[in-house]
Symmetry: C2
Subunit: 217 residues, 2 copies
């Protein structure tokens, strides 16, 4: 969508600036860009293609498939961007939606109130992130660049202390109120969770270092 087009244009502008400074030549005459838009196979690529910005100076392609899997051949791209999406996990961790589990998540989200919940999410996130990093490392050209935007918390900050966490908790509390008034079923509220984990900075760094396919710039 629109956010992605802005991010894409910013990156192309930056590459062209660098090219201009380093070579003194006009990038428009010498380099071509191709932007590969990846999303789930069930995403609406038709709308994406029809809303591509007019006057863009890049070729476009849509790449269907989960970013937890390989979606491109080896060494296919030079710069990758994950734009406000790195916080998705591939699934809800085991036990999170099970009332009898120690990691049952009463809150709508892992907001930091329950250590077992946090650990379950972090374990899932860590496994997912390593699979994702392996896939992107295969697809990226050697020396290529991966940009991760907007996907983690500062160390020691709990999700429940952030504006997003406060909104999520308010939604969760409202759903609980509705359940207590009998408007919706308590069971459904208790088993509702989201496949999201916003890692702390040091957690993310540790995952990237343990994975070992990328260096952090």
């Amino acid at each position: 969508g629109p956010n992605t087009f802005v991010a894409v244009q910013n990156i192309i502008d930056a590459v062209e600036d660098k090219y201009r400074k380093e070579t003194g030549q006009n990038p428009a005459e010498n380099i071509e860009f191709q932007v590969l838009f990846n999303d789930f196979t069930t995403n609406d690529f038709n709308t994406l293609f029809q809303s591509l910005p007019a006057g863009r100076r890049y070729y476009s392609a849509g790449v269907p498939g989960s970013f937890f899997e390989r979606v491109l051949p080896k060494e296919s791209f030079h710069i990758g961007v994950i734009n406000y999406a790195f916080h998705f996990t591939s699934k809800i961790p085991k036990g999170i939606t099970d009332r009898d589990s120690p990691s049952w998540n009463r809150d709508m989200h892992c907001t930091g109130f329950n250590k077992a919940v946090k650990k379950a999410y972090l374990d899932q996130y860590s496994a997912d992130a390593k699979i994702l990093l392996d896939a992107r490392a295969d697809e990226l050209v050697p020396g290529g660049l991966m940009l991760l935007f907007g996907s983690c918390l500062r160390d020691g900050v709990k999700m429940s202390e952030t504006s997003k966490g406060i909104v999520l908790d308010a939604v969760g509390a409202s759903l609980n109120d509705l359940a207590q008034q009998g408007v919706i079923e308590q069971d459904k509220v208790d088993s509702f969770s989201t496949p999201l984990y916003f890692a702390e900075e040091s957690e993310l760094k540790q995952i990237i270092e343990e994975n070992g396919r990328f260096t952090i710039e």
Copy 2:
């Protein structure tokens, strides 16, 4: 759609066979394939992506844009296929739908009854085909292969003599009957034409030779 998936699989099978014979190695362990599906931006890519064959051994991407323009960066692909589409022209030639023009096409299609109509279509087709060949030549790697399937007539065969031409003429005659009975307007029938030209083999050869970017194998 399904036809395309069959063509894609045939090509991959052929490349893998050749690889196996020439190297004695298993292609599945050594080479990856990426298939770029091109169609108009308004095509339904969602359905395409959701109907990709299960168990396929290739990565997929959708490339939106008219094939009369560049849709990919330079040297992007090794084997290109135009599958029953090379007979489309980019527009109806000038004069074809104009009753006062010498190349006005009374018939629904250029079926070979009128030399001025045929020339108008051939000129349009020739100009379009050269633009298309230039675009593909830029996008293809040096030494790459373009396959054109099912898109021309044998020399001396008129479209009106082929099964497709006979069907088109029958449709055209039926529309004329309906117009004479007042069910539809004669003007609309007279100005209805299709952006299609099925070239004769020698016409297509001449166009490819004049373009000069490809050799015919």
